[in-house]
Every structure is written in structure tokens, then in C-alpha cells.
Amino acid sequence: MMSGRLTSLAIALAVAAMVAPAHAATIEITMENLVISPAEISARVGDTINWINKDVFAHTATAKNGDFDVMLPPKKSATSILKKAGTIEYYCRYHPNMKAMLKVEP
């Protein structure tokens, strides 16, 4: 009886692990001296991006396809949760020479 319960619990957990998005991760993307790093990174839907602006200048992380437009005041950070899959090219509206890519997998 007891062991049967444990087994079903184990199965339930195993199933949950397979179905639910495996633990949403937090990914750091840094802007420093007008460089976005990493310039290319993969993430999953549900992951959080922690945008860190180390510059004394304001930056933005603006998706070309309009998926996000994050304001980053000097020396501030902000987070956004990825809701849609796709390969997103983004840039800084104030300094359009700052460009990077985010691959969001389902």
C-alpha cells in the first residue's frame, strides 16, 4: 500500500517533469561599453531574461519583430519573460550599432 503510493507519486513527478517546461531558467544578457553579450544565446519559452546595463548610458533591448522593447536606464537592470518561440533579432534604439540575437525554443 505504502510503496504503491510512493510509486504513483514518483510516476506523477516523472510525468510532471516531462510535461511541464523543465525548470524555467534565468539568463543574463549584459550591455557594457556598447557591446551586448552574449551576442547570440538560446533560451526557452518561459525563461526569464535578466538584462543588465553596466554603462552610464541608457540603452534599450528592442526586438525587430516587436516582441519586446525593454528600457534600460544607466546602471540598471530589468527582466522580461519569454512568451513566444522564434529567432529574435534585437538592438538598442539609441545606439542601433548594438545588435544581438536571441533564439527562443518552444
Partner: protein
């Protein structure tokens, strides 16, 4: 015509500045105190241009651009002052700084006569030309001449900022058309 003329002036000043520097310092390249002065002056010029635009610009995009220029260049110059203090360098006025300032005050007077959409267009066109000019000077003259490593790296970041501004200005110019 107007744009072509200011670009021609910019090119003339850019081309003539190494010669001016030779006369001023009796050396092939500017010294660190002169470079610091030129970089700071270049920032002040764009701050003054932005202040004029804040008063005169008509379009929302141009006003916002001027605000971005003001914010960035004030931040750059604040860093420049902190750096020269740290390095114990006293910025030294020189022929290039003087030529840049003269060119800028002529431009301010010229733009002051314009208003509305004509001002917006001329201001943004000059921002493109001006940033191009400064980028050229940074890349070919100031960065290679900088002796101090921290000053050099500061100028390299400055170049990236200015290149960003040039692209930003080009976007704003395209939107005005």
C-alpha cells in the same frame, strides 16, 4: 545644396585638422592633453546643438533624438572629466578644438535662422555629417595618437557611442523624408 555644403565644410575641416595640429604642436600627432580637449569639445558642441534643437524642433522624433544626444554626451563628458582628473591631465586648447568650435558656432547661427520642418531636416542632416566627421577623426587620428591606455579605451567607447548616434541620426533623417 545646404546639406552638400555643410558636408563639404566638414570634409574640409577634417582634412585640414592634421595640418593644423602640426602647426600647433610641432608634432605629427596630437598629445594626450590636446586629445582630451578635442574629445570634450566635440561633446560640448553636440550638447549645444541638442539644446538648440530642444527649443526649435517641431517633430516628436527630432525632439526625442535631441534629448538622447543631450543625455549621452553629458554622460560621456562627465566620464571625460573624471578620467582627466584621475590621469592628472590638463586638457589643452589647440587648433583642432578651435576649428571645431568655430564650425559649430557658424552652424548654430545658420540653423537659428530656420524653423519648423526646415530646421528639423537641417539639424538632423548636420547631426549625421557631424558624427561622421568626429568618427573619422577618432578612428584615424585621435585613437591612434592616444598615448595613455585608459584614454585610448575611453576614446574607443566614445567611437562606438558616436557610431551609434550616426546610425540613429540616419534613421531619424529617413523618417523625416
Amino acid at each position: 545644396m545646404f546639406i552638400r555644403r555643410s558636408a563639404a565644410i566638414a570634409a574640409a575641416i577634417l582634412l585640414s585638422s592634421p595640418a593644423l595640429l602640426q602647426g600647433a604642436s610641432a608634432a605629427d600627432k596630437p598629445t594626450d592633453p590636446q586629445i582630451a580637449h578635442i574629445a570634450y569639445t566635440a561633446g560640448v558642441i553636440d550638447i549645444n546643438a541638442a539644446k538648440q534643437a530642444q527649443k526649435k524642433a517641431k517633430s516628436k522624433g527630432v525632439k526625442a533624438f535631441a534629448e538622447d544626444m543631450l543625455r549621452d554626451h553629458e554622460a560621456v563628458n562627465k566620464q571625460a572629466l573624471a578620467l582627466v582628473k584621475k590621469l592628472n591631465v590638463t586638457p589643452e586648447d589647440n587648433a583642432t578644438s578651435k576649428a571645431l568650435s568655430k564650425q559649430a558656432s557658424d552652424k548654430l547661427a545658420e540653423l537659428d535662422k530656420l524653423s519648423g520642418a526646415a530646421f528639423d531636416k537641417a539639424y538632423v542632416a548636420n547631426e549625421v555629417a557631424y558624427h561622421k566627421q568626429v568618427n573619422g577623426a577618432l578612428a584615424t587620428q585621435l585613437i591612434p595618437s592616444a598615448g595613455n591606455a585608459e584614454l585610448k579605451s575611453f576614446l574607443q567607447t566614445g567611437l562606438k557611442i558616436f557610431q551609434g548616434h550616426q546610425q540613429h541620426a540616419e534613421h531619424v533623417a529617413a523618417e523625416l523624408k
